[in-house]
Amino acid sequence: MQAYIDQLIQDGAFAGMPKEVAYAIAMVLVALVVLSVFVAPLAGVTSWLERRVWARMQSRVGPNRVGPQGVLQWLADGIKNLLKEDLIPAAADAKLFALAPYVVFVGFLCTFVVIPFGAGLIVADLNIGILYILAVTSLVVVGILMAGWASNNKWSLLGGMRSAAQIVSYEIPAGLSVLTIVFLAGTMSMQGIINAQGWAPWDWFLFHNPFTFAAFFLYFTAALAEGNRTPFDIPEAESELVAGYVTEYSGMRFLFFFFAEWGNLYVIGAVATTLFLGGWQVPPLAIFENSPVLLAVAQFLTFFLKAYLWVFVAMWVRATLPRVRVDQLMALCWKYMVPLSFVCLIGSIAFMFMADDLRRVFGAITLGFAIATMINFFRRVMFQIREAKPELYLKPHI
């Protein structure tokens, strides 16, 4: 995208304008397009899908009234929230209170700059791509802390404080797991990391060696905690803190927090896909050779589906697990995840000095282990489904 704009400037599309102004205009336009065409529907549909998936897991029906199967529910919710009164409590710090949702939103939205949807579908392939993501997602904690403080509500304050402790702590295991991959790929650029992998599972960093395999799960867990998802949703813990830092929010400001939360799910999946699952890499088929559009579509779909798989896993986890307590959360991070991610980092570095053949053997063993785990997992899922007699409950009764 950046290269494309450079090209446009050279061709004189922004003639008579300083280069910086041209960049600014392009940035705003790109942001608008990304926001309205991709991010907003994505977060909205994710919210709908989560409610449907969740409902089905709980033998309920879920939203099914607006549009076919309720797929437009998010639009109705959005309009409803736009029409609601934007209430600012009298005792609140009005300016910070109003600003906080935007800070959270910006922190989440900025990550889309470096998410590679395809070989050419990236807003800017920064050479510090993954570091940039870690940096801007930290902005979210500032917003949440602002919301918690400015609401002048004790529940909000507790939620904000919990969130600050949680997000700051979990950035360390997440960062260390990311670092494992950065060492392997030798670059921080998102496209560079993807290019260092292949389309086939055995070329992915996930199965590169046992340590990256472990690092993936460490990253995913830490990312769930950073995204305030169950089992780490203690900042908003509705059974304890009423609604945590969003207690006093209403209308669109309230929605912005959840917009960021649902959109963030996709970001978690996208980063995991980029780092560990080969990103948009597709097999070099003959049909892609002379049609770049088909190739781009295939790449986009590959990336999207891989990333969305993890969104689904996050929904599944949310429907299954209870919530941990705040001290257990901290203990989990500092006593287990941080040391483990150090072990992963060092172990993975040790693998880099291993002979290629030996490394392949370990990679194959990791892949075999992963497949065996997968098969066992699905066997257990099937067992649970059989035991639950789904024919009793899974009939859609609409």
Partner: protein, 379 residues
């Protein structure tokens, strides 16, 4: 402020007072706690009861004995059958009324179904308090089946008015018996599934094991009853120890706290006692359905029910423990005095003691594990 800061090592802090409830998602109705916390750690949680007081005891002095039965439903709307039964037992004791044998079995069947329903709510909402949403919905799904059965038995889904003085309002039909058996066949595996989903969950156990431990002595001195008492390892069940109705003829175990994940009397033990009580109730139901004799469901009771002057106390084992009705008669059509004793009220009193030094999240787990129920506290 600066002087205070100096006395506290240069850093002045003060406790935060939070009002948990009466409108709070996990206070199960309208309870209120005034909680003093130091950050997340609670230094004091004072229960504040009385938000759901409906003068049910006073109403008892103004209506006839027969007319009071529907009011008792409202004492604990999650387990209405037990209040029905306790009041009817008291009235029958006063007047010396015989209950037909079939009526007794109908009572036990209805009560045990109601116990399962009440415990389902308890363990389900408990899971929700801990943050697990799915078990709650699954529990309510099963309870819905019980509500359907209850509707078949007595025409109501929540406030039954089923048990009358001298027996029960309506006989349980053979079709309904078959459907209850069908439900039991379906429900017993569901308990196992529930255990796989929630009770065996590592996070769930970590959250509850060793949290808010009630020692045997405390359980006695604070007068805990029912599953809360048994969770502390005391084998005391009114059905077994002060038998009433046909319970002496039935075989069932009294589950007590096992401390298999934490220490005896912790939150998990109280939860686990409820899960196992549901299984015991299933056993009782199966026996009752087998043993139920033919005959009338209610004995002849005069419409103008005038027990001789006197007083009596009848107690039953409700899901929230020992539920007692103290009824004084002056020989007229109206009770002279009715007093209800419920388990949740005493359970509330121990929260103050247990909450010292635990975290805010643990307070929610504690309230859930004691299964306090707002209507039963205030009556």
């Amino acid at each position: 402020m600066n002087e205070l800061a100096e006395t506290q090592g240069g850093f002045y802090t003060e406790d935060m007072t939070i009002s948990v409830g009466p409108q709070h998602p996990s206070t199960h109705g309208v309870l209120r706690f005034v909680v003093k916390t130091d950050g997340e750690v609670i230094s004091e949680a004072i229960p504040d009861v009385g938000y759901l007081h409906r003068s049910i005891e006073k109403i008892g002095e103004k209506v006839t004995y027969h007319g009071y039965v529907p009011y008792t439903d409202r004492a604990d709307y999650l387990a209405a059958m037990f209040a029905n039964q306790a009041f009817c037992l008291a009235a029958e004791k006063l007047a010396g009324t015989e209950v037909t044998r079939r009526g007794e079995f109908c009572r036990v069947i209805a009560c045990e179904l109601n116990r399962i329903a009440s415990h389902l709510i308890s363990v389900g909402t408990f899971g929700q308090d801990i943050g697990a949403m799915t078990p709650f919905v699954h529990a309510l799904r099963e309870r819905e089946t019980i509500n359907n059965l209850m509707e078949e038995i007595c025409g109501a889904r929540l406030t039954y008015n089923y048990i009358r003085i001298g027996g029960v309002g309506y006989d349980i039909l053979p079709e309904t018996c078959a459907r209850i058996l069908e439900f039991l066949d379906h429900f017993e595996p569901i308990v196992a599934e529930f255990n796989r989903l929630l009770s065996g969950n590592k996070i769930f156990i970590e959250r509850l094991a060793g949290v808010a431990v009630v020692s045997k002595e405390d359980a006695f001195s604070y007068n805990l009853v029912g599953p809360n008492l048994r969770g502390s390892g005391i084998k005391w069940d009114i059905r077994r120890d002060i038998p009433y109705s046909v319970y002496p003829e039935l075989e069932f175990e009294v589950p007590i706290g096992t401390a298999h994940v934490g220490s005896l009397g912790d939150s998990f033990d109280r939860y686990w006692v409820r899960i196992r009580e549901m299984q015991e109730s299933c056993k009782i139901l199966r026996q009752c359905l087998k043993m139920m004799p033919k005959g009338p469901a209610i004995s002849k009771v005069p419409r103008k029910f005038r027990p001789p002057a006197g007083e009596c106390y009848a107690r039953v084992e409700a899901p929230r423990g020992d539920m007692g009705f103290y009824v004084v008669s002056d020989g007229s059509e109206y009770p002279y005095r009715v007093r209800i004793r419920t388990g949740s009220y005493t359970a509330m009193s121990i929260i103050d003691k247990l909450s010292k030094g635990i975290m805010v999240a643990d307070l929610i787990a504690l309230i859930g594990s004691l299964d306090v129920d707002a209507p039963e506290i205030d009556r």
